[in-house]
Symmetry: C2
Subunit: 241 residues, 2 copies
Amino acid sequence: MPKAIYDHIYKDLKEKIETEVYAYQEMLPSENTLVREYDCSRNTVRRAIAELTADGYVQPMHGKGVRNIFQPVEQAAYTVGGIESFKESSIRNKKQAYTRILQFTDITADEKIAKKTGFRKGTLLLYIQRLRFLNGIPLILDHNYFLKDAVPGLTPEIASQSVYEYLEGTVGLAIATSKRTLTVEHVTQIDEKYIDLKGYNCMAVITSQTFDDNGIQFEYTQSRHHPDYFQFQDVATRKTR
Amino acid sequence: MPKAIYDHIYKDLKEKIETEVYAYQEMLPSENTLVREYDCSRNTVRRAIAELTADGYVQPMHGKGVRNIFQPVEQAAYTVGGIESFKESSIRNKKQAYTRILQFTDITADEKIAKKTGFRKGTLLLYIQRLRFLNGIPLILDHNYFLKDAVPGLTPEIASQSVYEYLEGTVGLAIATSKRTLTVEHVTQIDEKYIDLKGYNCMAVITSQTFDDNGIQFEYTQSRHHPDYFQFQDVATRKTR
DNA sequence: GCCGATTTGTCCGTATGTATC
DNA sequence: CGATACATACGGACAAATCGG
């Protein structure tokens, strides 16, 4: 949807960095040069650069210029970043994806579930348990809790494809922010039943609360990953104090 | 350092959200109201709100307002977020911290180290191995590689306190961005020698490349954490396509 | 369903400050 | 010291989404 100017500049610069039109450690053109190049205001250029900075692509230096610090990284089989569906991640990671539904039932949040998921006690939820395959190997076990009201008409058939695609497309739900916590946990009996951990006795676990554009939490998910095929990436910037 | 207006507004709103001056799911005052309240321009208010959004504190909704979606989360013993030193994290997590130096030697980057750390082959580095204690229990094993030129006068005594404090204070180095990768790996002999893993055969591993404000990478670190005391938090926003 | 008021999103031009060279 | 480059801030304009009458 975004045909915004800053977004166009952001994408254009991003591609030029990735394809090494600007080399690692090289300076980008100055803001004023970019203003002339894209025929827009300086604020608009600055917004695009701010996004590239947040991505860890560039580093603006007061009085000097903006340096390209992008280095292509060696990637594991499955790399997590941003809010992506399993399907989207599989495509980005160039893996063939398949999903098997293990459970698909309505439940009402009791005290324990409410505390864990962040939903209120008594809320009607849809619980889905899914096994995720990459290139034919079972690697991820997902436990999803969806707000029942937010996902009308969701069927096991849809859940075996892409729930997000269905929500954003058919239902018209807009996914906005996701709060995630990453931990390492002991394997469970369910994990062992479905996934060959090859000696590991633990898994990488991402738990997330996802909100729609009305600020309503519609999903709680625990995603349990095989250690060998899991990688999580992040860029942090230090805040001056 | 930042006495910027937007930063003042950001901190002020952040505190009001944390202390529930605005309740969970409640709307913040409109941008125009805040403009009058802080007697500044709308762009300045918007910048503060943008930072709160990135923190996962609020959710702006087109045409409606800005909603507070902050919920205090249950924290593990050691929670990672932003660029923080071990000392800073310990203080935030309210733990008593102690560091024991296991190794402290100069090395020159060979082919293998260069590939792993991102430094060029032949670069002179300072390698430090440190064991981190929280409340008297050894929980984290750090392998640091510092660019020797960037950390002049660094001694084991300083390394047992806070390297970042020394770099930012005495050396005058400004830490800017850090690229991190999180994985789960098998324990090593060194891990087992120093840390009681209580049945786990793996650890949570954060590898990071850290850059100064000149865009120069001055550090590569591998930080190996005890699973029971480790937690990593993140907020992601979905980009419209 | 329409209209006007409100609210957030995008963009512009300008001015001033600060750091670097 | 002057020129260049990024950082902060202002005020204004219009668009797009929402909401109430």
